[in-house]
Symmetry: C2
Subunit: 148 residues, 2 copies
DNA sequence: ATATATATTCGCAAAATACAACTAATCCCA
DNA sequence: TGGGATTAGTTGTATTTTGCGAATATATAT
């Protein structure tokens, strides 16, 4: 591990693999993108289609079809907004919540397993570091600021 | 930012976006996957097809096609191994090295920009943390250990 | 000789994605 | 208030990527 970029390249790839491996839940296969969609719907407050699509940087037409799939799978519900009947408010069905929870569990289990190889002190430092990194990435003028 | 998983979810997504945005170099458009392939060919010592495909978790038939594209773009060279003439040794052409260097430059520029929002001390801590995280992920029994 | 390993190729099907064109609802301002 | 512009979302169409299975070629191992 020589340089900084290498460090980050490997780390993000490992997380990529992690994501990939963590997305078959119950009887449905959930793609990486779909797991991010579920995650964001759960996280945001009565989000619209456009909101989630923007957050994830997905084209709205692609997103529309993804949502159709998730609705068919009974994981997501679309409700017309009472304020603006053009917009659809997204929410997780009970099944969707279960799926999100199952993915969350898997991810946390893996993270705990990883953290089990460090001391509590080290873990604390690492978590703080990631938090700092996130806030600095958010400050960054350039690219990748989909979260606001 | 409440829990640990959220922290990592957001971080890896931001890096995903970063990767996505960093892959148009010169006259060729380089996809995310292709940039990872270039990166790994550069990093490994006289790698074979199978080696890189395994590292990146890509199906060998898909990988074969990707390599064909990269060879056509004059970024990658295939050389039959002298030890085992079934295997093709992969290497970067001068153009491939340029492309890899250009991507590296973009990534490092972004990382520096991110780090510019912290003190030297904080940066040091963060880099150490990522290094520790990588080594613990490598130790992890479970999934995502494509690097060896 | 037979089995095994590396890689290529082909056909197929599924999925993701993008662009353009479209509908429907809302906004705005003259 | 009315009509054009704008916005949210959908749908048609086409492209691309990917994976799987099977067949092939070639080289290596037992």
């Amino acid at each position: 591990m020589e340089n900084t970029r290498e460090l980050f390249q490997i780390m993000t790839r490992r997380f990529g693999f992690l994501n990939k491996n963590c997305c078959s839940v119950g009887d449905h296969d959930i793609s990486l993108v779909q797991s991010h969609i579920l995650y964001e719907i759960d996280r945001q407050h009565h989000p619209s289609m456009q909101q989630i699509a923007d957050t994830l940087g997905i084209d709205i037409t692609t997103f529309s079809r993804q949502i159709q799939s998730l609705v068919k799978m009974n994981l997501v519900k679309k409700t017309p907004s009472s304020e603006d009947r053009r917009v659809s408010i997204l929410s997780l069905t009970p099944g969707g919540k279960d799926a999100a929870a199952a993915i969350d569990k898997k991810m946390n289990a893996y993270l705990n397993e990883v953290f089990s190889h460090m001391s509590d002190f080290e873990k604390e430092i690492v978590v703080r570091s990631i938090r700092l990194l996130n806030s600095c990435m958010a400050k960054s003028a350039g690219c990748c600021n989909p979260m606001g």
